[in-house]
């Protein structure tokens, strides 16, 4: 998969990951994919809700090890 940007949100807590994500997604074009790395458990429930609301698609959510979660989000 072609990942356009990787957003490192490791160590950050609410609201910084979602704020950074929303800002970064603005800079993508439709169909491009963003990879986000984060450690805040809150993102696990915030992100799917946000995708549902904005129409962006969450392609993947996986455990990258060491407490890091990896998300792939495709811009609508």
């Amino acid at each position: 998969m072609d990942v356009k940007i990787t957003l490192d949100c490791k160590g950050l807590s609410c609201p910084m990951p979602m704020m950074k994500l929303a800002k970064a997604m603005k800079e993508l074009s439709s169909g491009e994919v963003l990879e986000m790395l984060g450690t805040d458990p809150g993102t696990k429930s915030d992100l799917p809700k946000w995708c549902e609301k904005t129409g962006n698609e969450m392609l993947e959510e996986s455990d990258a090890g060491g407490g890091v979660f990896r998300y792939l989000i495709k811009k609508a």
Binding site: L12, P15, M16, D40, W50, G66, G67
Partner: protein
């Protein structure tokens, strides 16, 4: 057959119901509201800043600061214990769901945590309460001052959110840089968290059982703290989120969860106050529970400063506490800032400011004194309903959202 063997056992399924996924925020709101009503029925409503202030006083007492030598011991202070065990409850919730990890953020975030905590301490000591005492408990307690405090909170949150957006744009380095994560569980290697979670859970129950013989109310506060921390962690119940998210991503779930809790608490508190439920007090004393003399600029300014602090820290008083239990080091700094600044603010800063602020003792602050119980109940309900319509409308239209 192989398919059937994979189906989890009944108890495992029950466990998964609680710990496999986050709960909807409204489930957290309603259960927290229920526990809050019970706390009031047993003694007095939920609060957080007073407990944290007690920790701070005890820290200064330990350091030998003579001004705080009369601080009541944390071990017997109801609210100090409630807050302390709330952290433990969240720790248990995080362990049982394998979400515990020490998460050390970039340096800038650590500083923001401390400053946010310090601002919350000043706001709480000035405005007589925090997002719990003067909002989640104070508003259902039919306190006029709590509504004023809440307006301040709201404005403070919006101002600080603007700051965060500006900071992210102009100084992105504050929230980026080296971070570390320790002790995290992985899918395969995390059973120790579950075992430790059960051990801590059982230890708190033993503690409550031992305390119950001499101080039943304290035992009840300990059990409530344990459950409240666990509920907060699982539902990610957060008052900053409730105020902030409609203006950030437009999300309303956090707000609706808090509203659900407010409505349940409103019903319970009104009944307790109206009927004077509770032993050893006059009805008037019961009515005036959690109705503080913060009218009007004191409450407004306190709420405003608190709102800024909680948004910068990323957790209100209770949101800070449960994130401490989850291992978020930014919020450890926020708790530290809160507990260190709170006693200083209460003793040395607030008395000097309060005399300068316009306030009136004529206004008794208790809404039913002016508009009756039915009127006060309907007024609070109407405010919640307006807030609900606003966040839902905003979610659809994105009118006030930053993104």
């Amino acid at each position: 057959m192989a398919e059937q063997n994979k189906k989890p056992g009944i108890l495992r399924e029950l466990f998964n119901t609680f710990f496999a996924k986050h709960w909807p925020v409204w489930v957290g709101g309603i259960t927290l509201g229920f526990l809050n009503i019970l706390l009031f029925a047993v003694k007095s409503p939920w609060g957080a800043s007073g407990g944290i202030n007690n920790w701070g006083e005890n820290v200064f007492k330990l350091l030998g600061v003579s001004a705080f030598e009369n601080a009541s011991p944390t071990g017997t202070n109801l609210y100090a214990m409630l807050c302390l065990i709330l952290i433990v409850g969240s720790f248990v919730g995080a362990l049982l769901s394998k979400e515990f990890a020490l998460r050390i953020p970039p340096k800038g975030e650590i500083v923001k945590g401390f400053i946010g905590g310090g601002l919350m301490a000043i706001g709480a000591t000035l405005g007589l309460g925090c997002t719990i005492g003067s909002f989640f408990s104070g508003v259902p307690a039919l306190s006029g001052g709590a509504i004023i405090f809440t307006i301040g909170l709201f404005v403070g949150t919006i101002v600080a959110l603007k700051y965060l957006l500006w900071e992210m744009e102009k100084f992105p380095k504050v929230s980026s840089g080296k971070s570390f994560t320790f002790l995290a569980a992985s899918e395969k290697n995390g059973k120790w968290q579950v075992w430790l979670g059960w051990m801590v859970f059982a230890s708190v129950l033993v503690l409550a059982y031992r305390v119950a013989g001499t101080n039943g109310v304290l035992a009840w506060f300990i059990i409530s703290g344990l459950l409240m921390g666990l509920i907060c962690q699982r539902s990610r119940f957060c008052i900053v989120k409730a105020f902030r998210d409609p203006f950030m991503t437009g999300e309303s779930d956090g707000s609706v969860g808090v509203m659900a809790g407010l409505v349940i608490t409103l019903i319970g508190f009104t009944a307790i106050k109206y009927f004077g439920v509770g032993v050893g007090e006059t009805i008037r004393a019961r009515e005036m529970s959690w109705v503080f003399e913060q009218f009007w600029l004191r409450g407004l300014l306190g709420g405003f400063i608190f709102g800024i602090g909680m948004t910068v820290a990323g957790g209100c008083a209770v949101g800070t506490l449960w994130r401490v239990g989850e291992g978020q080091v930014k919020l450890w700094m926020s708790a530290l800032g809160f507990l260190l600044i709170s006693p200083i603010s209460k003793k040395y800063i607030v008395p000097g400011i309060v005399d300068l602020l316009p306030h009136t003792m004529k206004f008794k602050n208790y809404l039913p004194d002016y508009i009756g119980y039915a009127g006060a109940f309907m007024l609070v309900l109407a405010i919640i309903l307006i807030w609900y319509v606003f966040v839902k409308w905003n979610e659809r239209t994105g009118r006030f959202s930053a993104f």
